[in-house]
């Protein structure tokens, strides 16, 4: 409920992007400059490989003694090599074998890696352990050494070498597919498909493969590039098949004659380098296009700030009753006409909080209640000035102890946060750092805020842990966050929040993630601490029960505005705004339980009833 605002605009564009992604990745790649260049280049290479026989009439393997190391001429447009073979023909036919060799590697690697990754990731169990172990083993093998050994045993076959390299590099696919599949395997929609009776093969094809498809394509382009380089490397060392023209063997020949004719080296080197670069660029472009939806939106500079017009709407405001009048102290926080907005890519501002005014006094628990997207959390965050990126206060003022927080500098805010204004989050677990002990996370802020020595801070932390009802403070102090339950973690965060005796506490759905019985205990704790420290509390919640339990006054929010505000008892007894009334109507607590299911009436009873009705008429 507290995720970043579901802004209407971006949600739609993202959805459109996703849809267009399905229509054509290809078309989008054409719009990506580097992707376009890479694709054109690769298309040329492939075309020239296919049409080698048409482009040149020379035989790539025909040696001619007159033409040894010949320079460029009409007969040999790019010259001839040390055996008098035509360089252009060898380059063109070579691309055939280089690409085909890379293709062999790719197919072998993909077939082995993707299949085993899918099986291991989806079915798990023993195949998972065995295949992960094998993948680790294969990755640990020194690839080049294995290829050399294979050549020694199996002979100089380029196809075999590339096939073996495919096996060696298959873990790259395996690990990728395995990781994505095991992430998807436990998604609820996969469970739902299982319950619908879909076969495993169908679930994999339909639900799993769509997720891993994109990374596989990207990885394929990368691996083809690597395969071309490895193949060239093998042949450069003279380990290839001498009967087959290829870029690597040309490189070898060119290197041997580097002083006699340096251009011999240039052509194959260019071909290898450019092809590899093109493949990498293509892979990058594909990744950019496929993953663009995950936010590369450009943000406008903060200098160009659009103005926001705030329209006032009538707020139903109830006067304080005797109860709140008596209990509350001096004014702590006064928010006037607050507006919070998010900068959009086109320079406009989407406001999520509008015209919000509220006052929190010392000793008061002020509830902010509303449904998701009502702006209650945004209001709370703007008090702390902890709005997510792109969000800012665009209008109004937030006065706290005579200072306008809306205009305060970041340094002034840092001095206030934690010390004067504390915060309790919704998700206790994600707000504790998993890599530090709970103790150190409590002690550190106290040393900074209160200037205590380490020993004093430790003593106070233990005291606080005991105060918030943790049964064994010493053990919790040395524990890591994952070793305690959610309820305990929330108690720890509450201890941390009150550690510096704040005047104002912002609690953002502090009990939403907790079980009901734990929630009751945490509410009790909050009430006790609040009266003990006479803090002002802003309590954000969507639960009317929590408001009834803890709050003195409450403001009901909808669409970023407060629609009704007043003492809790008044609002619960006589809600006036239609929206507040509709919320109260949706509450289930007071409804009747359903009657136990009656036995299906037999024909007899139906007949009897009909007779009865007839008789009564």
């Amino acid at each position: 409920m507290t995720q970043a605002m579901p802004l209407q605009g971006p949600t739609l564009t993202v959805a459109e992007e996703e849809r267009s992604a399905r229509i054509s990745l290809f078309r989008r790649l054409l719009k990506n400059p580097s992707g376009l260049v890479a694709m054109i280049f690769l298309a040329l290479i492939v075309l020239s490989a296919i049409l080698a026989g048409v482009i040149t009439s020379a035989d790539p393997n025909a040696a001619s003694l007159q033409d040894v190391l010949a320079h460029a001429s009409a007969a040999h447009p790019l010259g001839a090599d040390s055996a008098g073979r035509d360089v252009l023909a060898r380059l063109l036919y070579g691309s055939r074998f280089s690409l085909a060799g890379a293709l062999v590697t790719l197919v072998v690697a993909a077939v082995i890696g993707v299949t085993s990754g899918l099986i291991a990731g989806y079915f798990g169990r023993w195949f998972d352990s065995v295949s992960s172990w094998v993948a680790g083993l294969v990755m640990a093998l020194p690839g080049f050494v294995v290829l050399l050994a294979a050549r020694a045993v199996l002979g100089p076959s380029m196809w075999l070498a590339m096939g073996i390299f495919g096996v060696l590099i298959s873990p790259a696919f395996f690990r990728l597919v395995y990781a994505s599949v095991s992430a998807v395997r436990n998604e609820l929609y996969v469970d739902a498909a299982r319950v619908s009776g879909l076969s495993d093969a169908r679930i994999i094809a339909r639900h799993i493969f769509t997720v891993v498809r994109a990374p596989i394509i990207i990885q394929a382009a990368m691996i083809t590039g690597i395969a071309i380089a490895i193949q060239a490397g093998l042949e450069f060392l003279g380990l290839g098949d001498t009967n087959v023209p290829s870029w690597g063997s040309m490189l070898n020949d060119g290197f041997a004659n580097i002083y006699k004719n340096p251009t011999l080296l240039l052509w194959p080197a260019l071909a290898i380098a450019l092809t590899s670069v093109a493949l990498t660029l293509l892979a990058n472009a594909m990744r950019d296009e496929l993953e663009r939806s995950s936010g590369s939106k450009k943000r406008r500079g903060a200098t160009k700030r659009a103005q926001v017009l705030v329209e006032h709407e009538l707020v139903v405001s109830h006067p304080d009753d005797a109860r709140t009048e008596a209990a509350l102290g001096e004014e702590l926080l006064r928010i006037t006409d607050l507006a919070v907005g998010y900068d959009q890519a086109d320079g406009s501002v989407t406001t999520v909080v509008n015209d919000v005014s509220l006052v929190v006094r010392r000793g008061e628990v002020h509830g902010l209640i509303g449904e998701s997207g009502s702006g209650k959390t945004q209001t709370a965050w703007s008090i702390l000035r902890l709005l997510p990126d792109g969000g800012r206060v665009v209008g109004g003022s937030i006065f706290f102890e005579g200072k306008d927080l809306a205009k305060a500098s970041e340094k002034e805010m840092t001095a206030l946060r934690g010390k004067k204004i504390a915060y309790i989050p919704q998700e206790p677990m994600s707000n504790l750092d998993a890599s530090f002990t709970i103790g150190s996370q409590l002690v550190e802020p106290m040393r900074v805020c209160l200037g205590l020595s380490k020993k004093e801070a430790t003593a106070r932390a233990l005291q606080l842990l005991a105060r918030v009802g943790i049964p064994n403070p010493e053990r919790t102090f040395t524990a890591y966050p994952h070793e305690v339950s959610g309820g305990m973690a929330q108690r720890v965060l509450i201890a941390g929040a009150v550690s510096c005796n704040p005047d104002l506490l912002i609690a953002d759905e502090p009990t939403t993630a907790l079980d009901v019985t734990v929630q009751a205990e945490v509410l009790d704790l909050l009430r006790e601490l609040q009266s003990e420290l006479t803090m002002g509390v802003v309590l954000v919640t969507h639960n009317f029960g929590v408001v009834a339990d803890l709050c003195d006054r409450v403001s009901v929010m909808r669409n970023g505005r407060i629609v009704e505000t007043g003492p809790v008892r008044t609002i619960f007894a006589q809600p006036e705004h239609p929206y507040t009334q509709s919320l109260f109507e949706a509450i289930l607590e007071d409804g009747d339980a359903r009657e136990p299911l009656q036995d299906t009436p037999s024909v007899e009873t139906i007949v009897l009833e009909t007779i009865g009705k007839g008789a009564s008429k």
Partner: protein
């Protein structure tokens, strides 16, 4: 006596713990329950109580170690994939999280057609059925061509319900289907559940942590605690006059949306906790 649709007897579910010779984790410790046709059985409990596991065991998604789950007299605790397939038109599911229970890259029509294609329904009949389903859950037919992300949580849950209804099941396992929804959306979706039940006579196994939600929809309610059912009976009795100490604690822990009554309930709860602590102490002494 009406016949029983689902009869769960002494079901035990163990989850293996990773590591050599580790004791498995026992999520259900012998649970028994029955559901009659057209009935809603509510299953309440806190996180880790095993309520979700019981639902998954019925669906064949959790490994049943021992005990039996009889669906219309036939044991479905250990079915092969093929036998499950035959059962899929009888038992369906609606999950808690409307954000992950729909595949984000498929359109609503594709999602709804999926269970139908398994049944070899023709393409034309299928898309007619999709429109019909959308209509049943109160969504416009234009929704068919859109992606799940274009819908709000409540609308997505309606789509999930439509998917569950596609095969006209007799039992739907509902795993916290409204707990991710806003209050007013929640009320409307519960209303939809009720209306569908009245129209089609489907039975629900309704899993939730919220007593009020369970009370509003269930005919009978079972309360789970640490993998066991601690209280089981008519909805009104269990949710308004609970007998088991745990259910009593659970009942009093939920805050009432009324400041005056909540103050009373808070006091009641503290008194109950004191009494129960006293009893535990005495039980410990004895």
């Amino acid at each position: 006596m009406t016949d029983v649709l689902l009869d769960i007897t002494n079901v035990v579910v163990d989850y293996p713990i990773k590591g050599f010779r580790k004791e498995p984790f026992r999520a259900l410790k012998g649970v028994s329950l029955d559901i009659r046709p057209g009935e809603t059985v509510g299953l309440v409990g806190e996180s880790g109580s095993g309520k979700t596991t019981l639902g998954r065991a019925v669906l064949g998604l959790a490994p049943v170690t021992s005990g039996s789950i009889l669906y219309r007299g036939k044991d479905i605790a250990h079915l092969s994939r093929g036998e499950r397939l035959a059962l899929s038109s009888e038992i369906q599911v609606v999950f808690q999280d409307p954000y992950t229970s729909l595949n984000p890259s498929l359109t609503i029509e594709q999602i709804l057609v999926e269970p139908l294609t398994v049944r070899k329904v023709s393409q034309r009949d299928a898309s007619k059925r999709v429109r019909d389903l959308l209509d049943q859950v109160g969504l416009p037919t234009s929704a068919a061509d859109r992606l799940p992300r274009e819908f709000s949580g409540g609308q997505r849950q309606r789509i999930a319900i439509a998917r569950a209804l596609a095969l006209e099941p007799r039992l739907i396992v509902c795993d916290e289907p409204v707990s991710a929804l806003d209050l007013s959306t929640q009320a409307r979706v519960l209303e939809l559940f009720k209306e569908i039940q009245e129209r089609t006579g489907v039975a629900y196994l309704f899993v939730s942590h919220d007593l009020a939600v369970v009370r509003s929809l269930s005919h009978r309610v079972a309360v789970m605690y640490h993998g066991e059912i601690v209280e089981w009976g008519d909805a009104d009795q269990v949710t308004a006059r609970p007998e088991h100490p745990y259910t009593q604690r659970l009942f009093l822990a939920a805050p009432v949306p009324d400041p005056v009554r909540q103050e009373q309930r808070r006091a009641d709860r503290q008194r109950l906790l004191a009494v129960q602590a006293e009893q535990n102490l005495q039980a410990g002494v004895l």
